[in-house]
Symmetry: C2
Subunit: 617 residues, 2 copies
């Protein structure tokens, strides 16, 4: 079901009840861009820590707009032995709801926009009919404003807070240049009382003048009037004064109150759907969902934090929670997230699935040993046909993400004795996959763990190499050609991580590089230590520059992940040594996602210097 501003209010109950009855929910988002900073290969370095990746995404991806949100609810029908689905495709746009509401600015990335355009994305639906939304701060602020205006306008109410103490006793603090204007208003209202008219429309005026009018009329005519601000077709605002008895006054006040409440709910808009999802406590399934989750929190809850959490938690949890406590918060609300890309990259699926992109995964999960899930679209919902791919429409992507989850969950049932064909979203079999969000293109850490410490693989076969900016990947291959296979992960134009195949080669490389002039090699441990020192130094400089917003925003991200320096101590996973981390749960021999991305060649431009190490013994 397509939901825009036009049918949003009418659809809301349908959405609520679909969430309420569901066994699990699948979600997907479409954004106006991916990265406003480095290119994707720098954004996703193969040796990022989970914290670093989170910080980079937070810094470089949150200013884009999530402008299409797909939600597909799945409810298992025992009688039919199939899932009944209700897919929704929401168009989202932060239309300012009045003159004082936040005027959101968002970034568009040409390549992303062009990609969506090529997929037939309807931008007019987003910009002309997108559903508005407010995050929690904005909502609170709006409620406060409404409350304040209500106090201010209430006939015969207490002293409104906006009026200065002196003015509540008399309207004498009308500025000189407005006195004539206000006196004319008083005359007109007095005339209203003595004539047969019921209603008086004053001329359009400024907000300040309207405030003066409310203040004066409240003081001068505490009874018998209902005063209200009305907008002309040309959006000019004027005050309407109506002669009323006490009963009518109350009725009109009540109507006004209800209208305001409805306007407020309209402004909160799409965020209400997100609140309903999080309150439902249902399993939420997504494919490669880290960015979706971060955007959802950022746009509909609150800004993602740059600092450590404001609550006290035990030290063990501290290092991994500090930068992702809001995701943790989201987890607390939703209870369970499941990433189908991570699931497909993990045993027992890893061996069977060659390509974990959503479209390919969906296809592969139709064939043996998997089974196409039995699903049926609920009556009244347009049904998707997976043969006619509608990829990158968020509603469709959410739908096939749900299908993938069902196929994989059911496959786990084949290992039981006796085998079970249907595994529910509440089964213990899928618990090992909960709350682990797939990390793109990290060589040795497959996921960001929301409810436990992150994996900390040993990186003692990794070198950090700095070199002139003319160097390309081929120069690095050349330099290390004596060491056999290496893996290069670019950090920036003049540095990269080089993973050697054997740890004992590290010392040889370090020894040889002592005499090098144009490049420099550090071990991973030295690199981490250096970064920590740099951070401390920067922290001091920032302090001496004071509390300027821009200084903070530039550096805060690098001063946050205070657990980072402790990484090399690696108390938990480091012990296991193999570099391939193990965790203590059923299907947990997690494998490394393929790292094609980080191998990407930097091939253009001039490449003149070639250096080689002497062959290793």
């Amino acid at each position: 079901m397509e939901v825009t501003r036009k049918n949003y209010k009418d659809s809301l109950n349908t959405v609520y009840s679909a969430i309420e009855e569901a066994d699990f929910l699948a979600i997907d988002g479409e954004f106006s861009g991916i990265s406003d900073g480095p290119n994707v290969s720098a954004l996703t370095n193969g040796l990022d820590t989970p914290e670093e990746r989170y910080t980079k995404l937070k810094k470089h991806s949150m200013d884009f707009l999530l402008f299409q949100f797909g939600l597909c609810t799945f409810k298992y029908d025992q009688a039919k032995s199939k899932y009944i689905t209700k897919p929704f495709n929401f168009y989202i746009f932060p239309k300012p709801f009045n003159r004082t509401s936040p005027d959101i600015k968002f970034i568009c990335q040409s390549s992303s926009i062009d990609f969506l355009a090529s997929q037939g994305f309807d931008f007019n639906k987003v910009f002309c009919h997108g559903i508005p939304y407010l995050n929690q701060d904005e909502e609170a602020q709006l409620r406060e404003q409404t409350e304040e205006r209500r106090n201010q306008h209430a006939n015969g109410g207490g002293t409104p807070s906006y009026i200065s103490p002196s003015s509540s006793k008399s309207p004498a603090n009308v500025p000189e240049e407005h006195k004539d204007f206000i006196n004319r208003v008083i005359e007109k209202v007095e005339a209203l009382f003595s004539n047969s008219e019921k209603t008086l429309d004053l001329e359009p005026c400024t907000g300040f003048q309207r405030k003066l009018i409310y203040q004066t009329l409240n003081w001068k005519f505490p009874k018998g009037l209902h005063v209200e601000t009305v907008e002309t077709e040309k959006k000019e605002r004027y005050i309407q004064v109506i002669k009323v008895d006490e009963e009518e006054r109350k009725r009109r006040e009540q109507q006004k109150l209800e209208r305001e409440q409805e306007e407020l709910n309209d402004a909160v808009g799409f965020s209400r759907v997100i609140h309903a999802i999080s309150k439902s406590g249902k399993l939420v399934v997504g494919h490669n969902m880290l960015l979706d989750v971060m955007h959802t929190i950022h746009q509909f809850y609150c800004s993602l934090p740059e600092k450590s959490p404001p609550f006290t938690i035990n030290f063990f949890f501290y290092s991994f929670l500090c930068v992702k406590w809001v995701i943790y918060l989201f987890y607390l609300l939703t209870c369970r997230l499941l990433d189908t890309k991570l699931m497909a990259s993990t045993q027992p699926f890893k061996e069977l699935i060659t390509n974990t992109s959503l479209a390919e995964l969906e296809k592969q999960l139709k064939d043996t040993p998997f089974k196409s899930p039995q699903v049926e679209t609920a009556a009244g919902f347009p049904s998707y046909d997976t043969a006619q791919e509608q990829l990158h429409e968020a509603g469709y992507d959410a739908y096939i993400t749900g299908l993938c989850f069902i196929s994989m969950a059911n496959y786990l049932g084949s290992f039981l004795t006796p085998p079970k064909a249907y595994i529910s979203a509440r089964s213990k079999l899928i618990e090992p996959f909960f709350n682990k969000l797939f990390l793109m293109r990290i060589i040795d850490i497959p996921y960001l763990n929301i409810t436990g410490p992150d994996l900390q693989p040993k990186r003692d076969h990794v070198l950090y190499v700095t070199f002139p900016k003319e160097w390309k990947t081929s120069d690095l291959y050349q330099l290390f050609s004596a060491f056999g296979n290496i893996q290069v992960s670019w950090v920036d134009d003049t540095s990269a991580f080089v993973s050697l195949s054997q740890t004992d080669q590290v010392q040889i490389a370090m020894n040889t590089s002592r005499y090098a002039e144009s490049y420099r090699i550090q071990t991973y441990a030295e690199y981490v230590q250096g970064k920590q020192l740099e951070k401390e130094k920067l922290g001091q400089t920032v302090k001496s520059w004071g509390e300027d917003g821009w200084v903070k925003s530039h550096y805060a991200s690098s001063t946050t992940s205070s657990g980072f320096g402790k990484r090399s101590i690696s108390p938990v996973q480091g012990e296991q040594g193999s570099g391939e981390p193990l965790i203590a749960d059923g299907w947990s021999h997690y494998s490394y996602p393929d790292s094609t991305g980080s191998k990407k060649m930097k091939t253009d431009g001039v490449c003149k210097r070639m250096r080689t190490f002497p062959a290793a013994a």
Copy 2:
């Protein structure tokens, strides 16, 4: 005529000849937003200097996208005694033209997008079919890349610059892990020579591998082959090897060259129209056109400068040119700009025109003493009907801007003896309006002067007041209530300019404020001096921080306008004293545009402190 990526190439000659034959051109742009920083009232302070305004717009408006460009050409037909118009409405979008092309990010402002949506703007046309463009740097870079690739691919050419010296002698520097791959390619090509096939399609591979293939084949088979990169439908790139004799090889190379040249022109895209406009030297008319001109330069020429110009100019011109030399450059190219909003706000029009917004101006210029211009749309162009307003479509806005110019220009002819009904775009009568761009909401400087020093009105009746952030406009009215009429121009949350009606009140205010605790008053001269000192201090700090890009970009704007401090000396206009500047040309008694904007009330929120000056003597 609507022009998108689909019909752009076919329309280009029509556009060129319309520009070439025109008497004058009218332009208009639609943007994805206005300000990414302060709200509009802070962006347009009523007492900005032209330099400050330019710097603010540059800093806060250039990251939006100009995504619709209107051009309307006007050619006078003597026989018909009317103008023949050719209106064009271009949709613009920076679609990346290949994988290495710039991936432009631009900001959208919700209120602007929402406004355009309400006017029926078609965003799908922009994002799906917008014409791409390159600025001059990007174009140069692309030409260089193409040249480089050409050298690299040229069979039997000299040593391509990308190949390291050693490799030109032998293909031995193929990295170890690619050797098998390259050897297989050689085998296949050798087989091609001995079989009856003409063409060999290699498997898709990476850019680096393609480079190795070109390099190896150039070296191993200097003759008899044409080698080319081809793209599959799935956008995978592979190399096609074709057996050819020398004649065919040359023909194919020539074809490839032409194709590349055409691709290059396609990438330069819409910028070619702007180049044609600027080369034409025609009068370019716009309405409130400062932002249009800045965006046009920024998007299709080069980044607007933050620093003083790289060329030496005489000192007199230095102070006003330093921050706007690129606009000056544009002026040099186009020769003449004319802003109809400035024209309408100036004598003799000022007295006759009550509202200078484009839509209202167009209506007023149809009535006496003005005359509706005689125009006719050229054959083959869809004609606009001013009765059915299509405001905020750039093509339509450009069209009615041109109409406004014609009406006003012809009106000037009524002052001649004998009166003339038609005044051409080349008439001396309109020269006083050349190259003066309207400045929104500045109290005492109506325009930015491109070809002369800016106006420097005396501001000795102006006070700079700082106060707690709770203060509102009404507090300031209260504070100065003894002085009669004042004008408040907000600078930020805690400061504002207050213009008194009489200069001799300044000393009274200064004396009284000595004992104030919560607020502080400075004269305008003191304020300017303080800012200059602050700038010098900041300049030193920036220096000590070195040449980091982000430091530069944050501060450069405040260190540029070096003429600013000299402002209060006011050698040229200051002499005339009245505060209402005069310039030496025919219609030059320029008046102040209305300053409603800067008077805007800051009325919301709590307002508790009220202070009053003792009444002035």
